[in-house]
Symmetry: C2
DNA sequence: CTGAAAGCGCTTACAG
DNA sequence: CTGAAAGCGCTTACAG
C-alpha cells in the first residue's frame, strides 16, 4: 500500500482493505464511456425514439459496465416524480395493521402512488421516523396518536390524514363508526336468548372505550344488565386471563363481546381450555373483521371494518391534499358491519 | 367566468369550477414573500444556526402562508437522501407477508432506511409496479418469482435480493432451510408414538414441495410409512377439505404435517368439525411460525422462520449492494426452528 | 440521428 | 447575520 494515493489519514478504517465504496456513476460518466452526449444516454436508458440501434447498444453496454442507475432525485426534479404516501401504523404485529396496509397498498398501486410503511410503535424512535418519513412522502396517513399534536409547527405543511382520531380533529381524517353494527349485534344477542352478557373492554386508563359503552347501552336498552370488565392490557393473553376468571363463576356469562378480534381470540382460547363449547355454552364476538377470524374454529362473529372503503377514502383525500385542493369533505366516516359467523 | 384569464380551451374540464391545482411553492417563492434570499429560507426551514430569531419567524410565517414544502428531489439531489428499500411480497393478505414486512420495517428503521411496500400479486399490474418501484428505491428485496427472470436486461443495475429463490440463483438471496427442523419434528412424531402420519402438501403442479418430500423422507427413515396428499390449492379452505376426506377413513391418520401454518389452521378447523380432539386423536403441525399459531386453540406446533434473522440479512445485503460493495457473501441461509405447542 | 443550452429545487461552501 | 455563486443529476425543448 505504500505510495498508493489516499485521501484519508493512516488511521482511517475506510482507507484499508477491499474495494472501497466507489462514487456512483452518473449520466455523464456513461456518456463519456460511450463517447456520446448525455441526452443520447437519456434516450437509450429511457427507451426513447431518435437514436440508432447501434448507438443505443453502445450506450447500454457502457451503462451496464459502470452499473449506472439514474438518480431518482435528478430524474424526479425534472419529471415531478411519482406520488408517495406514508402509512403510519402503531403496531405491525397486530394483524389489524397489515390488513389495513394491504388495502391501502392495493388502492395506492391502482392510483399510481407508492406507499412507504412505518411502524411508529417502535421503541423510542417515533420522532426520528416521522421526521425522515415527512421528508420522503407527499402525504402522511395513519394512526399517529399523540404524535399528531403540534403537527403544524413540527412538520410544516405536510398533509396529514388521521385514522380514527375523532370527528373533532383539526386534521383531515377517516373515522370508524361501529354504532349501527353494535345495535345489530345487541339485537342478535337478544334474539338468540342471551341473558348474561359481558362486555370485555380494552385497558384504556380509567375509562371505557366508545364501543364498550355503546354496547353496554345497546344491551341495556334491550332490557339486559350487561357486565363491564376490563383487561389489564389489550392483548389476547390478558383477554384470556379475564375470561378464565369470569367463566369460573357460579353463574357465568352466556355471551362475551370483546374489544377487538385479537382479544376475542383470547376469549375463545380460554373457553376451550375451560371445556366450554362456543357458541352452545357461550357466545363470543369481536371487532375489526380480521381475516383470521374466518380461519379459526369456531369462526369468529365480528363487527368488520371495510378496509377497502377506508383505503378508498385515504387515496381520495391524499390526492386532493397532495394537489393542494382541499375543497372536498375532509372528514369521512366508515361504518362497521356485523358479520355473523359460528361463534355467535 | 367571462373575461377571466384562462390558459386552456373552453371545453377543458380543468378550467371549470373550484380553486384549481396551484403550482407548488418553491424556496424562491418563500424568499420573495419574506423579502430574504433563498439560503436564509434554508436556514429557517432546516433549523440551522446563523439566522436572527426575527428573520426566522418572518420566513416561517411566509412558508406557512404559502404552504411551502421542500421538494424531496431538490433536497435529495444535494444531500444524497435517505436509502430506500423496496419490499416485494406476493400476497399481503397471507399473514406470512406482514410478519416478514414487520421485521424488515423494524430493522430498516434501525438502519435509517425507508421501506416501500409492494404487493406483486395484484392483478396484472406486476410489471408496472416493478417499473415504478425500481425508479424509486435503491435496492429491491422480496419474493419476485418469475419476475426475477431477465432482471438485468429490464431493470439494469438495480440490486436485487431474492427471498427463498434457491441457492443456485444468480442474484443475491436469502434462502430458508427447513431440513433440520423437519428432522426434529419427525423425531418428535416418532417419540410420541405416531403411527399413520400424513403429509399435506401444497398444490405445486405435478410436483412435491421440498419440505413435503423432506418430511416424507424423514418419516420413512424412521420406519414409518407416511402418506402424501395434495391440496388442490394452498389455502386453509382446501386444506380443510382434504383433511375432512382423510379423517373420514376407516383408519384415519394420527398426525398431519401441513405445508404451512395457514393450511394447518384449515386442518385444525376440519378436525374440530369432525369432533376430533387435537392433539389427543390427531396431531397437527405447520410451517412458518406465524404469530396467529400461538393465538388459536389449540396452539399450533410449527417450524418457525426467524423473521428477524431474515430481516438482518436483508439489511446487511441491502447496505452492501447499495454501496456497490459486493465483497460479501451474497447467499445467506436461515434455518427453521421447531416450536412445539399444543397441537403436536 | 445527435448534441449544446437551460432549468427543475434545493444545499453547501464562501464572501461579505 | 445575510446573500451571490456553484453545482447536485437528470430531462425537455430546441438547433443542427
Amino acid at each position: 500500500m505504500a505510495g498508493s494515493s489516499r485521501l484519508t489519514g493512516a488511521g482511517d478504517p475506510e482507507a484499508t482493505g477491499s474495494p472501497a465504496t466507489r462514487r456512483r456513476a452518473t449520466i455523464l460518466d456513461v456518456a463519456a464511456a460511450a463517447g456520446v452526449s448525455r441526452q443520447t444516454v437519456t434516450r437509450a436508458i429511457n427507451d426513447m425514439p431518435g437514436i440508432s440501434v447501434e448507438t443505443k447498444r453502445r450506450v447500454l453496454d457502457a451503462a451496464s459496465t459502470l452499473a449506472y442507475r439514474p438518480s431518482r432525485f435528478g430524474r424526479g426534479l425534472v419529471t415531478g416524480g411519482d406520488s408517495q404516501l406514508g402509512l403510519v401504523v402503531s403496531d405491525l404485529t397486530n394483524p389489524y395493521s397489515p390488513e389495513l396496509a394491504a388495502a391501502v397498498v392495493r388502492r395506492a398501486a391502482a392510483e399510481g402512488w407508492s406507499v412507504s410503511l412505518v411502524d411508529i410503535g417502535l421503541a423510542g424512535s417515533a420522532d426520528r421516523l416521522l421526521h425522515s418519513l415527512h421528508a420522503q412522502v407527499d402525504v402522511i396517513v395513519g394512526y399517529l396518536g399523540e404524535w399528531a399534536l403540534g403537527w403544524e409547527s413540527r412538520f410544516g405543511a405536510t398533509p396529514l390524514i388521521l385514522l380514527d382520531a375523532g370527528a373533532d380533529s383539526p386534521h383531515a381524517g377517516i373515522n370508524l363508526n361501529p354504532a349501527a353494527a353494535i345495535e345489530d349485534l345487541a339485537a342478535h344477542f337478544v334474539a338468540v336468548g342471551t341473558r348474561r352478557p359481558v362486555v370485555l373492554d380494552a385497558s384504556e386508563p380509567h375509562a371505557t372505550s366508545g364501543r364498550g359503552s355503546a354496547m353496554m347501552g345497546a344491551l341495556e336498552r334491550r332490557g339486559l344488565s350487561p357486565e363491564l370488565v376490563h383487561a389489564s392490557a389489550s392483548t389476547p393473553e390478558h383477554a384470556s386471563a379475564v375470561t378464565a376468571q369470569v367463566i369460573r363463576r357460579a353463574t357465568p356469562p352466556d355471551a362475551i363481546f370483546a374489544f377487538n378480534d385479537l382479544m376475542a381470540l383470547g376469549v375463545l382460547s380460554a373457553c376451550r381450555h375451560a371445556g366450554l363449547d362456543v357458541p352452545r355454552d357461550i357466545r363470543v364476538a369481536g371487532v375489526d373483521g380480521l381475516t383470521i377470524g374466518g380461519l379459526v374454529a369456531p369462526t369468529l362473529t365480528t363487527l368488520a371494518v371495510d378496509f377497502d372503503e377506508v383505503a378508498r377514502h385515504t387515496l381520495e383525500l391524499a390526492v386532493a391534499l397532495g394537489d393542494r385542493r382541499p375543497d372536498i369533505d375532509l372528514h369521512r366516516v366508515v361504518s362497521h358491519r356485523l358479520v355473523l359467523r359460528e361463534s355467535a
